[in-house]
C-alpha cells in the first residue's frame, strides 16, 4: 500500500457504527494533500459512515482522526468547519421550504470575517449552474432531483476549505453536469484544496483523481494512485462491474 508524506487528513484505527452494529472496525488511511482522492467500494462498505465519523455526525468509539496534524476526533460539524473541512453528504439534503437562493446562502453561515466576497461567489457559482440562477426564487422542493444535487454542490463549496468531503456528487446529475462538477473539483484542487470523494461512478471519477482508495467492510483494502487502481484487474472485476456493456453487446 502506498505511503504518503504530510497527509492532510489521517484516520487511525477508527471504530464507529450505529447502535449495536459496528461498521468501521479499525479503519485507517491518510489523504494526500492538494490532490483528489476517490474512495470506491461496494454498497454498504461504510464509505458514507467514514465521512459521517470524520465530520462529527457519528461518534468514533475508538481511534484518532487528525487534520493537518491536529487531533479532530469527535469534533462537532461546526468545529470541523472552523478547522477548514467541509462536507457535501449523499442523498437529498435541502431545506425544502426555503428558496433556492436562501438555501445557497446558508452555505456561508460558517464563513469567518475573512470572506468578504460571498455575494460575488454565489453569483459565480450560479454562472456555473445556470438552472439554479433561473430558479433562484423558487422553493427548493420544486427542483428536480438533479437540480437539487447541483444546489447542494454549490452550497457546499462556498467556503474556502482546506479539505472537501464529497459523497457521490454524480448521483442524479446528467453527464454534462458530472463533467462540470468534476472540473470544479479539479479547479479547486489546482488552488491547493484537498478533496476526498466517494464515487460509484468509479471509472470517470478515478480518471480525474490522483489517488484511489478501496474500502470494503469498513476497512482499507487498497490505496494507490488512481491509474494504478483503475488498472488493477481484481478491482475491475470486483468493483467496477467487470466490463459491463461489452458482456451484453456480445
Amino acid at each position: 500500500m502506498l505511503k504518503i508524506d504530510n497527509p492532510v487528513l489521517t484516520l487511525e484505527n477508527i471504530v464507529a457504527g450505529y447502535g449495536k452494529m459496528t461498521i468501521l472496525n479499525g479503519t485507517t488511511f491518510s489523504v494526500p494533500r492538494g490532490s483528489i482522492t476517490t474512495i470506491i467500494g461496494p454498497n454498504g462498505a461504510g464509505k458514507s459512515t467514514v465521512f459521517k465519523t470524520i465530520f462529527g455526525l457519528l461518534n468514533a468509539r475508538q481511534g484518532k482522526i487528525t487534520l493537518d496534524g491536529k487531533d479532530v476526533t469527535n469534533f462537532t460539524p461546526r468545529q470541523m468547519l472552523e478547522v477548514g473541512a467541509c462536507y457535501v453528504p449523499q442523498g437529498r439534503n435541502i431545506f425544502p421550504e426555503l428558496t433556492v437562493r436562501h438555501n445557497i446562502e446558508l452555505g456561508s453561515v460558517a464563513a469567518g470575517a475573512s470572506i468578504t466576497d460571498m455575494p460575488a461567489r454565489i453569483e459565480a457559482s450560479l454562472d456555473r449552474f445556470p438552472v439554479l440562477r433561473k430558479k433562484a426564487n423558487q422553493q427548493a422542493s420544486t427542483l428536480s432531483g438533479g437540480e437539487q444535487k447541483q444546489l447542494e454542490i454549490v452550497r457546499g463549496l462556498l467556503l474556502d476549505p482546506k479539505l472537501i468531503l464529497i459523497d457521490e456528487p454524480s448521483i442524479g446529475l446528467s453527464p454534462m453536469m458530472v463533467k462540470e462538477t468534476f472540473s470544479i473539483l479539479t479547479e479547486l484542487k489546482d488552488k491547493g484544496v484537498s478533496i476526498l470523494m466517494i464515487e460509484q461512478n468509479a471509472k470517470s471519477a478515478l480518471q480525474m483523481s490522483d489517488y484511489g482508495l478501496v474500502l470494503e467492510l469498513g476497512q482499507t483494502r487498497m490505496f494507490d494512485t488512481a491509474p494504478a487502481i483503475l488498472a488493477d484487474p481484481r478491482v475491475g472485476q470486483l468493483f467496477l462491474g467487470g466490463g459491463m456493456g461489452e458482456a451484453t453487446a456480445a
Binding site: 500500500m1 450505529y18 447502535g19 449495536k20 452494529m21 459496528t22 461496494p42 478501496v214 470494503e216 467492510l217 476497512q219 482499507t220 483494502r221 487498497m222 481484481r234 478491482v235 470486483l238 468493483f239
Partner: protein, 340 residues
C-alpha cells in the same frame, strides 16, 4: 430459512395475551368490588386504546376522537338495554354490543373520508371537531341522552339467564370479551392487512405505487379503530351503570392518545400497558391525596424521557439490539472479496 421476525414477535404477543388472560381469570378472587371495578375498567379502556392504536399507532392517522366513539357505544348500549330503553334489560346486551360496533364502524368510515384529503394536524383538527360535536350532542340532546343529568340505571348484561350483578362475574365477562376482541385484532395485524396499515403510516407514496389501496385501508383503519371504541363503550356503560357526557369529552380523547403513546404506539401489547398506566396507576396514586396528578404527570414525563417509544419500547429496544447483533455477526462472517 430464517424465522420471520414478525411471526416470532406476534407469537410472543399471542402467548402473552393468552397467559395473561388465564392469570386474570383466577387472580382477582381476593379483590373487593373496588379492585374488580378498576381492573374491569382497565380492560375496557384497553379495548378503546387498542382501536386507537390501530388508527394511530399502525396506520399513523392522528385521531382525537376515540373518546367520542367510546361515548357513542356507551349511549347506544344504554339506550338499548336500560329500563325504558328500546329493548330493556335482559338478553339485549349482545344486540347492543353489535349495534354499538356497527354504528361506530360507520361513523368511523365517515370520519375517515376527510383523512383521505387532509393529513397531520388538519386531520387532528377534523377529528377534534367531530369529538366536540358528539360531546355537545351527548350534553344537549336531553330527550335522547339524558343531557347533563346523565343516564342512570344501566343494567349489567345477563349470561345464560343469570344477570352479572356479581362484580367478579362481570369482570370475567369483560375479560372474555376483551380476549375475543384482542384475538381478532391480533389476527388482523398479523395478516397482510396489518402490514398494509403500517405501510400507510411509513410511506403512503410508496405504498400507493405498490397497489395498496390507500382509500380502502385508511377508511378501514378508521372504521375498525372506531368500532373498538364502540365495543369498549358497550362494556363501559354497564360497568359504570351510569353515564353522562364528561367521560367522553375532548380531554378524554387526549388521555386515550396519551395511553397509546405511553404504552407504545404500533405494538400489539402497547394499549394494555398504556391503559394500566393511564387508568390503574392514578387509582393507586389517589392515596397520595391532592398531589397525585402532579406525580402522575411527572411519571409520564420521566417515562417518555426514558423510552419515547412507550413502555413496550424497552422490550423492543432489546429485540432491536438482538437483531443488530445478528446482523453484525453475519456482516462479520461475510467474505472479504479483496484481500489487502
Amino acid at each position: 430459512m430464517t424465522r420471520h421476525p414478525v411471526f416470532s414477535r406476534i407469537d410472543a404477543n399471542l402467548a402473552t395475551l393468552l397467559i395473561g388472560a388465564v392469570i386474570l381469570w383466577f387472580a382477582p378472587a381476593g379483590l373487593k368490588s373496588y379492585g374488580l371495578y378498576v381492573i374491569s375498567l382497565w380492560l375496557v379502556m384497553s379495548i378503546a386504546a387498542m382501536g386507537l392504536n390501530l388508527t394511530l399507532g399502525y396506520a399513523g392517522l392522528k385521531s382525537l376522537a376515540q373518546a367520542a366513539f367510546l361515548g357513542i357505544g356507551a349511549y347506544t348500549t344504554a339506550l338499548i338495554t336500560a329500563k325504558g330503553g328500546i329493548i330493556g334489560p335482559g338478553w339485549s346486551w349482545p344486540l347492543a354490543f353489535v349495534v354499538s360496533g356497527a354504528i361506530t364502524f360507520f361513523a368511523g368510515v365517515i370520519l375517515g373520508f376527510p383523512a383521505l384529503r387532509v393529513k397531520f394536524h388538519y386531520l387532528a383538527f377534523v377529528t377534534l371537531s367531530f369529538a366536540t360535536v358528539m360531546f355537545l350532542i351527548f350534553r344537549n340532546e336531553q330527550w335522547l341522552t339524558g343531557g347533563v343529568y346523565g343516564f342512570s340505571n344501566i343494567p349489567r348484561p345477563s349470561v345464560m339467564g343469570s344477570k352479572l350483578d356479581n362484580d367478579l362475574a362481570f369482570f370475567r365477562f369483560v375479560l372474555v370479551v376483551t380476549v375475543l376482541l384482542s384475538l381478532a385484532m391480533w389476527w388482523m395485524l398479523r395478516s397482510p392487512w396489518g402490514r398494509a396499515f403500517t405501510a400507510l403510516r411509513e410511506n403512503p407514496l410508496r405504498a400507493a405505487s405498490l397497489g395498496i389501496n390507500l382509500r380502502a385501508y385508511t377508511l378501514l383503519a378508521f372504521a375498525i379503530g372506531s368500532a373498538y371504541g364502540g365495543f369498549a363503550g358497550a362494556l363501559y356503560a354497564p360497568l359504570v351503570e351510569f353515564i353522562d357526557p364528561a367521560p367522553f369529552a375532548i380531554s378524554a380523547s387526549f388521555v386515550l392518545l396519551l395511553t397509546v403513546v405511553v404504552g407504545g404506539q404500533g405494538y400489539f401489547l402497547g394499549p394494555f400497558l398504556g391503559a394500566a398506566f393511564s387508568y390503574v396507576l392514578p387509582e393507586v396514586l389517589r392515596a397520595t391525596g391532592g398531589l397525585y396528578l402532579l406525580i402522575y404527570a411527572a411519571l409520564v414525563l420521566i417515562l417518555l424521557l426514558i423510552t419515547p417509544q412507550g413502555i413496550i419500547g424497552i422490550v423492543e429496544k432489546m429485540r432491536e439490539n438482538r437483531r443488530q447483533k445478528a446482523a453484525q455477526e453475519q456482516r462479520n462472517a461475510s467474505k472479504v472479496m479483496l484481500e489487502a
